[in-house]
Amino acid sequence: MSHAKTRVMTGNEAAAHAARLARVQVVAAYPITPQSPVVETLSEWVESGELPAEFVTVESEHSALTVCITASTVGARTFTATSANGLAYMTEQVWWAAGARLPIVMGIANRAMAAPWSVLNDQQDSMSVRDAGWVQLYCRNNQEILDTLVQAYRIAESLYVPVMVCYDGFLLSHTMMPVELPDPDTVDAFLPPYHPLTVVDPDDPRNIGPVTLADPRPDAEGVARNGYMEFRALHHRALLGALETIERVDAEYGAATGRTWGGLLWEHRLDDADVVLIAAGSLGTQLTVAADELRDEGMNVGVLGIRSYRPFPAVAARDALDGRSLALVFDKALSYGHEGPICSDIRSALQSRTGAPVVYGAICGLGGRDVSPADLADATRRAVADRAAGIVDREPDWINLHLEEDAR
């Protein structure tokens, strides 16, 4: 800690610094806005010798994650980053990395999905692969990006699951703010070397990730080995185990650096709050400003931030929301034809719980639509009024929406 220093940098630079501090050995990435500066920075450090790693300048995102998959298979610590359509293009490999139980860490500079084209922020990209078996952590600011990426390697390599560290495109990726760089020795002590489960050795040959039947099957000695479903159950168990690991790793990181980020969830003025505002990422940061304003008006408002979206901390969220009157969930993504994904998860966490708050959803910030703390405060006032009117089921509130038909 004595050598920690603070610099003003973008979220992308913070991500690159995290990969360097984690001593990644293989980096592969393909350019896409707004992620590109991460890999530009890393390639510069690899070329200058500042980062002793292999940098593979792949021809697609599919190949970027592929390179990480096989490099991780032979025991190298790997890093890649992408956004939006890049993530969609590598989706096949997103599943592969998780199913193969490889502790790959990937930065996601969250960006809206095309069509129509948008390079700006929302969280539809990463939310759309939430079921692929990765840990997904969302960051509030650039310091959290750096710290979470370093933590991600500890989490990934303890549980043999890949980790996606998500941060809002432009809002964090391109916005500069002060970031304290931990001392490399501190990170080294926190992050032991990676020991792969996979064995790649001509003297002890194994066939990794072969066709695996539905039912258990005997090996050459007649011992029954797992079927596909058993492996999936174990994978699920590892993700559930991540609930404890994420909290513990955050606490240990705090002991090493003096900074923690709340583990699974974080809160702001939640203690006596009657109305709880919920979001993931930088939107949560803005919610704290709105909450402070509403507190000044005498409204009992607090914020519950989602740091770990997968695994979803259902029990912790339920406990945090117990006895409140209203939970207002702000999503920067949408499950089309239904509602915001975080809103659905909060509802399911609270399901059949007596004393649970009414849950309202709000959709905001799609395709980079600006949303200010004032907008968030207004949405909260509307929700509180609806709640007071006794409304239980409410359509999601689309913040700052200006449809032509409404103008007529």
């Binding site: 003003v8 916005t175 500069m176 002060p178 400003v289 200010s372 703390p373 004032a374």
Partner: protein
Amino acid sequence: MAMRDDTMHEIRWHGRGGQGAVTAAKILADAAFGSGWRGVTSAPSFGAERRGAPVTASTRLAAEEIRVLSQVTEPDVVVVLDESLLDVGKATAGIKPGGVIIVNTTRPAAELGLAGDFRVVAADVTGAALEAGVVVAGTPLVNTAILGSVAAATGLVTIESVAAAIEHVFSAKLAEKNVAAARLAFECTSR
């Protein structure tokens, strides 16, 4: 009215792609951090930038960590790198009452036709850049020089912190010229 953290100052930059407005916004954030502001952010106008097209960028300064990440719509300070942007860029939009607009121009402030509840500071920043030799491919670059004008006109950052922040970005030789340009502009800008 936009909500903001107490004591937060919001600066909006107007430039053209290639003029370095985004870099200026970044250097100002760094200088502000060096001047003791604990909360600083700087952001480009989000999306693709193209050479010559009008671009904006923003810098925020505060005593505490900044939690507002949405766009700057009611700036305290507007900085215009190129006088031609006054017409096309809606440079005065939303300026907070009592705010200031700093314009790189050879004309006096009164002749710029800018009226409102804000102070207009005119400075020949291009002249400072030329004098200091900050010229790339025959074109004077004003983005570092104008930081001197911002320091002078707003008092939000010291000229020494601007110099230090410039030195973080450029090699020693280039930094020397750019710092000289900023100092010249600092001297020539009304307080």
